[in-house]
Amino acid sequence: MTTPAIASPGVAVSRPRGRLSRAWAVLRQVLRRRSGAIGIAILVFFTFVALFPDLLVGPLETAVTATGPSMAPPQPGYPFGTDELGRSILNLTVHGARISMIIGLLATIVTVLFGVVIGIVSGFVGGRTDAVLMRITDFFLVIPTFVLALILAPVISELFGTEGEILGVRITLLVIVVVIGITSWSSTARIIRSQTLSLKERAFVDRARVIGASPMHMMSRHILINVTDLIVANTVLVFAGAVLTETTLAFIGLGDPFAPSWGQILNSAQEAGAPGLGAWWYMAPPGASIVLVVLAFTLVGNVLDEILNPRLRGRQ
C-alpha cells in the first residue's frame, strides 16, 4: 500500500490550520478505494433524500391524506405500490429516510460522546477511577443490551411522557435515541481508553505536565486531539450499528407510527400481514434502504479504519 505522509497522526494533527485540509486528504483517500467510493456515493444519495423529502415526493401521507387503493402492487402513480391504508410506499420510504437517519445520527452522537468522555477519563486518570469505570464498561459489554433496551424504553417513556417534541424531534423517537446511547457506548469507551493509555506515556504529555498544564487541559488539548482519528473511524461504524438497532427496535413495536422510520414501515408490513399476502413491494423499498445504508456505513467505516487506525495501517 502506498501511504502518503498525511496519514500519520500527530504530525498533521498538531497543526490546527492543517486540520481541514487533512480531512480533505483523508476523504480523497477513502474515495480512491472502490468500496469507499461506493459507500460515500450511497450515503450522499440517502443524505439528499433525507434532507429534501418534500421536494421529492411531497408531504408525508397519513391515513387521512392517503389516496391510493389498499395494498396495491406497483402501478402508474404508485411506483412502489401502496400499504393497507392506501399510502404510497415510495412516499413512506423517502420520509422514512429522514427519520431513520436523524435517529441514527442522534444516537451516534450520544454513544460517541459517552464513550469518548468515559474512555479518556478512565485511561488518563487511571487508578481507582479507571477500575470503577472499566467495571461498569465491562458490565455493559457483557449484558445483552438489546433486551435491556426493551425494558428501558417503556420506563423512559413513562418518566418523560410520550407526547410533545424537543427541537422538532418527537419524544418517542428520543426515547429510542437515549436507549441506543445508553446501551452501546461501551465498546467505544474501550477503544478510546486503550489509545489514551498509550498516548499518556508519550513525551508531549509529559512536557505539558511539567509546564503545569491541568489534567482537564491535557485531556482536551493533547489526548482528545490525538484520538480524533480513532473517533472518526469508530463513529462511522457506530452509525451503522445505530441504524440497525433503531430498525430492530421499531420492528418489534417500539417505534412511532406517526413518524415512520424504515423499521417502523417494516413493522406495519408485518402487522398488516404483508409477508403472508406476498406483498413484496411493501417490504422491498424500506428493506433495501436499510441494507444499503448500513452497508455503506460499514464499507466507509472499514476503509477509514484501515487508513486511520495506527494498528491496522499498512496491513493491506
Partner: protein
Amino acid sequence: MSGRYLLAKIGQAIITIGLLIVLNFVLFRMMPGSPDRVLGRNPNVTAEAIQATRERWGLDKPVIPDQLVAYVASIAQGDLGYSFVYRGASVADVLADRIWPTVILFGLGELIAIVVGVSLGAYTGWRRGGPIDHIGNGASLILYATPYFLIGMVLLLVFAVGLGWFPTYGMTTVGEVYSSPVNQLADYLSHLALPLATVALGLIGQYSIVMRSSIVDTLGEEYITTAKAKGIQDVSVLRQHALPNAMLPMATLIAINLGYVIAGAITVEVVFNWPGLGTLTVDALAARDYPVLQGIFLLLSVSVVFANLIADVMYQFLDPRVKA
C-alpha cells in the same frame, strides 16, 4: 491452567450477576403501575386502604435494604414473580414453556453458522483477492448489513408464500393429527427450516468476515512463511498451521456475540411466529407485562455472562499464551 485466573473470572461473573439483579430491582421500582400509585389515583380510596395495600406488598418498608433483600431472596429461590397477562402463572413457568423452541432454533443456527462461517471465512481469506473472495466477502458484508428479520421476510416471501415449499408460521401445523412420530418430526422440521436458515444466514456473514480477517492476519506471520519455505503443502499449511491460531478470536466473538444474537432471535421468531422467548418478549412488551420482561432479561443476561465465562476458560486451554 492457573487456578487464580479461573477464580478471578468466576469472581467477576458473580459480581456481574449481582449487578444485574440490582439493576433489575432498580428498574422494577421505576416501572409504572405500583399498587399504591394506582390506588392513589382513585379519590374514593381512603388513606387506610392505601396503607394496608402498601403493608401487604411490603412497600412500607425502606427500599434499601429491606425490599432489596426480599427481592434477592426470592430470586435465589427461583421466584421471579407472577405474569400480568398469563393470570396466576409464575414467570418461571411462563419462561420454562418458551425456552426450548428458542434453544433449539438458536443452538442449531449457531452450530451451522460456525461451521459454514468459519469455512467460508478461512477459504476467502486464503484465496484473498480471487473471484471467490470477492463474491464470498461481498455476500458476507450484505448479510452483515441486513437485519435478521429482513432475511426472514425475504425467505418467507420466496420459499413459503411464493414457492410454497415450507409453512409460513408456527412450530406445528394447527389441528394436524399425526399418523406416526416420523410424520410429526417431518412437520416440525419443515416448520423449523426457514427460521433456522434465517438465523444461520444472519450469523454466517459476521463469522466469515471475522474469520477472514483473522486468517489474513495469521498468514502474515513468520511461522507461516517458514512452513511454506519448508515445502509443506498449501492445504496442510492452512489446516495445521494457520487455522488453529486464526480460530482463537472466534471463541471470544461467539461468546460476546450471544447478546446480539438474542436481539436477532427476538425478531426472527416474530417473523415466523415461532413460539419461543422472542415472541414471548414482544407479546409481553405489547401487553406491558413487566414481570415477564424482567424475567426474560435476567434469564438472558445470566446466560450471556455464563457463556462469556466459558469462553474465557476455554481460551486458556486454546491459547497457552494467556496467563493473565
